[in-house]
């Protein structure tokens, strides 16, 4: 792993590259383009950049209109508002028509830190995942976020891409592929399978090393494509280990754990648990401190993995 970098930087790098590759790419922003960094797109492509102010419902529906006019809009603001405030516009305005709208959810997770509960998107994966036609990508680092943005150019229909504000370790080299419906097995392990997305992938890799020191072989799977989910990889690993621990910077309900549990319960009921936010709101504080308070760390994964392995079922 190399230096720390926020995934939002990867999002912006991806936008700029997408804009250069495809003249149909347009960006719809909501008064946070300086915060996300997407203002850079507006500087390079002023005609293709629309800052609509603080109006998430309008932004989402305008993006639908731009897609209807033949463009590929990337509409982004903080995930809590993009996925939450504009949810029904995403549902009926975008997904129902299966439009090529790319939705960027910035500041995902509790890792936003000091801004506190109002700005920490902990439900966005859940509410985006339930929409028909929607794909949900939760990249682990800035390289993968850039790759997700570029990969979305070749996908049909709406795509939600969740990224964060807090610097995270690089897990992937530049240009690692992001394929909808494909997870990445980052570490093999016969005792337990750690399934993670977003900023929790690096934590899971750390946890895997710590567990190895304790004689526990923990495999690590990056589920960058939360929807469609790589069921085959999940079931292969689950049948190998018989224990699945999901780690995500999101509510424990409805997100990656929900997606994984839905597959396991219907096809291969194995022991499973989650390291996630336990059905409560976040709080202000430095990201690292808040992550510790809410048990979103490698040590929390280690502890829960050990407990899960002791559990009967």
């Amino acid at each position: 792993m190399s230096r720390l970098k926020p995934t939002r930087e990867g999002y912006v790098e991806g936008l700029l590259e997408a804009g250069r590759r495809n003249s149909g790419v347009v960006v719809v922003e909501g008064d946070v383009s300086r915060s996300i960094g997407s203002a850079a797109f507006g500087e390079e492509f002023p005609d293709r950049f629309f800052n609509l102010g603080a109006s998430e419902q309008d932004m989402m529906a305008e993006a639908a209109g731009l897609a209807l006019a033949g463009y590929v809009p990337f509409v982004s603001t903080y995930a809590v508002f993009m996925a939450g405030r504009a949810w029904e516009q995403a549902r009926t305005g975008v997904c129902y028509m299966n439009l090529d709208v790319r939705i960027g959810g910035a500041h995902g997770g509790i890792s936003v830190g000091p801004d506190g509960a109002t700005h920490q998107a902990l439900e966005d994966i859940a509410v985006m995942r339930v929409l028909p036609n929607m794909k949900v990508l939760v990249p682990a680092d800035s390289n993968q976020t850039r790759a997700a943005v570029l990969a979305s150019l070749d996908m049909d229909g709406p795509v939600y891409i969740r990224f964060g504000r807090n610097p995270v370790p690089q897990v992937y080299p530049v240009d690692s592929p992001v394929v909808p419906g494909k997870g990445n097995l980052l570490a093999e392990g016969g005792d337990i399978t750690l399934v993670a997305c977003g900023s929790m992938v690096a934590e899971a890799l750390d946890a895997s090393k710590i567990l190895a020191g304790k004689g526990i072989r923990a495999g690590v799977m990056d589920m960058v494509s939360v929807k469609p989910l790589d069921e085959e990889l999940l079931l292969n690993q689950a049948s190998l280990t018989g224990a699945v621990l999901v780690a995500e910077d999101h509510q424990v309900t409805g997100g990656l754990f929900g997606a994984v549990a839905e597959v396991l319960v219907s096809r291969l009921p194995v022991k499973a648990a989650a390291v996630a936010v336990m059905d409560r709101f976040g709080t202000s504080g430095p990201p690292e401190v808040v992550r510790k308070m809410y048990d979103l760390t490698s040590s929390a994964i280690v502890e829960k993995a050990e407990r899960l392995l002791l559990r009967e079922r």
């Binding site: 629309f50 419902q57 529906a61 305008e62 209109g65």
Partner: protein, 272 residues
């Protein structure tokens, strides 16, 4: 087309709507009838369209933001040649392309799927932004209900249209003064309406929404302005059938046998 011909089209559309809703067993006659002349005028006299080539790039776009008035739009599209009028009676039935609210992926001639109030104007703005970016000469029209103007999303879109100077966008408000629960003024007042649109930077023109000459004048005005334009079309909810007029009771109700016969007789009967 001359006014007599347009009136005949409007009568045909109202009869279709009545028959469709009757066959479906549900639907929205009140807000469909108030919009008939607006839709007939748009599709016969204003919009550049090719019914045989519904996705023609150079077409003008129309967004029915008040999607519940779709029986009237379906009738207009069928009578204009987008699909066989024989299909109209499948409205709201399983497998039908004529969904309870417009679904563009099902039916040719629709420029967006609508029905969730408040979204249509923003979608229309987005299309208008895209058309301008692509240097298209097409115009965009969007029909809103007056009760719909209570949705905050409408005014976000209104700001965007004005901020980006979308002069090729025209909204029409079907000002029938009645919504599902009762009079708009009693449920949630939206006046002063002209001042509101003016304050949002729009060019505003008021028209009689059931008079073709008045609509013609209003739409001509909108062709020649530097701002997004809105036509406040004064209409009558349930227009054309005496017992459906000016009441919320026919917002979303299907006529029984007796009511149906009486309504058809009135529509066939005269000028009104």
């Amino acid at each position: 087309m001359d006014v007599a011909g347009m009136k005949e089209n409007a009568r045909r559309v109202r009869l279709d709507v009545l028959e469709m809703i009757r066959a479906a067993g549900s639907g929205h006659p009140g807000g469909s009838f108030s919009a008939v002349e607006i839709l007939v005028h748009l599709y016969w006299n204003v919009m550049r369209i090719r019914p045989g080539d519904p996705e023609w790039d150079g077409r003008d776009r129309f967004i029915l933001s008040k999607g519940h008035a779709c029986p009237a739009l379906y009738s207009v599209l069928a009578r204009r040649g987008f699909f066989d009028p024989g299909e109209l009676l499948t409205l709201r039935k399983p497998g039908s392309r004529l969904q309870g609210h417009p679904s563009m992926r099902d039916l040719p001639g629709l420029d967006a799927s609508t029905g969730s109030l408040g979204q249509g104007l923003s979608i229309a703005c987005g299309i208008a932004l895209g058309l301008r970016l692509g240097r298209s000469g097409s115009r965009v029209y969007c029909l809103l209900g007056d009760g719909e103007l209570q949705e905050g999303n409408v005014w976000e879109g209104a700001m965007t249209a004005s901020h980006y100077g979308l002069a090729h966008l025209t909204a029409i408000v079907d000002r029938n003064r009645v919504q599902l629960d009762g009079a708009v003024s009693g449920v949630m007042e939206i006046e002063p309406l002209v001042d509101k649109w003016l304050a949002f930077g729009w060019d505003v023109v008021v028209a009689d929404g059931h008079s073709f000459p008045s609509l013609e004048k209003a739409f001509e005005h909108c062709m020649d302005t530097d701002f997004p334009s809105v036509i406040i079309a004064e209409t009558v909810k349930g227009k054309g059938v005496s017992f459906m007029e000016n009441t919320h009771l026919w917002h979303g109700r299907c006529p029984d046998d007796g009511e149906y016969e009486k309504a058809v007789a009135e529509l066939l009967g005269g000028e009104r």
